[in-house]
Symmetry: C2
Amino acid sequence: MHNFTWRGQTRMNADRIPDIIIGRLPVYLRALQRLSSKGIQTTSSQELGEIVGISAAQIRKDISQFGEFGKQGTGYSIPFLVERLQDILKVDRVWDVIVIGMGDIGHALARYNGFSNRGFRVTMVFDNDPSKIGQKVGEFEILDTSTLAEKVKLNKIKIAMLTVPAPAAQEISDQLVKAGIKAILNYAPINLTVPSNVRVQYIDPVAHLQRMTYYLD
Amino acid sequence: MHNFTWRGQTRMNADRIPDIIIGRLPVYLRALQRLSSKGIQTTSSQELGEIVGISAAQIRKDISQFGEFGKQGTGYSIPFLVERLQDILKVDRVWDVIVIGMGDIGHALARYNGFSNRGFRVTMVFDNDPSKIGQKVGEFEILDTSTLAEKVKLNKIKIAMLTVPAPAAQEISDQLVKAGIKAILNYAPINLTVPSNVRVQYIDPVAHLQRMTYYLD
């Protein structure tokens, strides 16, 4: 259906919207939901731009890819734009997500309360350490990683967050892909090799820090 | 000195290297260090490209911004390229970093052992909860956020990781900036407003997940 590579570097089909634009939509959605939670009903590309640090022109261009959303001079209806962005990003539903690796970050993700109103819920957590398997983390019992493939298939899970040590990450990723996972949020500080129909996003705080130190004296 | 905006959207000076390129350098460095740790001494833009999921041409173009690094046909010397990238990104030294907010993520960051060989060390951790202040997290004693400005100034800290709840993030950010912080890694799911000489990077797992669900069926 979609011909993007998971890396988001290439556009295979000129009709497709560049992944760089898709990557900005969650930022717009987050800011709009925050305005909405303050009871604000309308906004402009200028106001939104100041909040998210992106030019008003860029925001208008990005949003116009998906149709007409605002009238000249009246700005955007926040509830309408929120609904449309949720629809576009497919977070008008709730996705089941699993966590593999119950170290500090895995624990934090299992207990994070910021998923539920943004389209996700953690449903299972895994580790391969016998001393952790069967223990509770919040409402979850830690499951044995050896049962991962079977449970992913049975529950038709499409999304996994990977917080295992770097040397184990590629092997677990291979297992996940084989079991039907289509999207991996990878916290291990290594690049994963996956088929082109599987997407990976990376969270590496050190890479973000290094991107900033470049500019420091 | 540097005329980028912190958002990395605009290039104020044509001599400057676009922030999007700077953002890829930590990814190259991470992959090169991983090859190096396996005892590998040389690589090519093709090999590196396959690891990081970026085209060989793009990698050559990015790296050539900083001078001549490889000879046609012989590839890159990994130790040399690692050293140059560390130098460019200013992680040929060790930066002191503080953590504000000792919830699950703050704990994970305080205990994370992946900073030390990549240019950073956590030196202080803060919270404003009286029941947490004075408690130990690993080797750190949790300090009172009310002493933040004073300690940042005294120790000339330039970099902070912010893991406080969203409603508190902007106020703490203002305090940090006033005390001399120049780079903030923000885990709170809100956009921060900072002066143009301060840089912010964001870590929001939900935004990454939403960027992937767009492509799912």
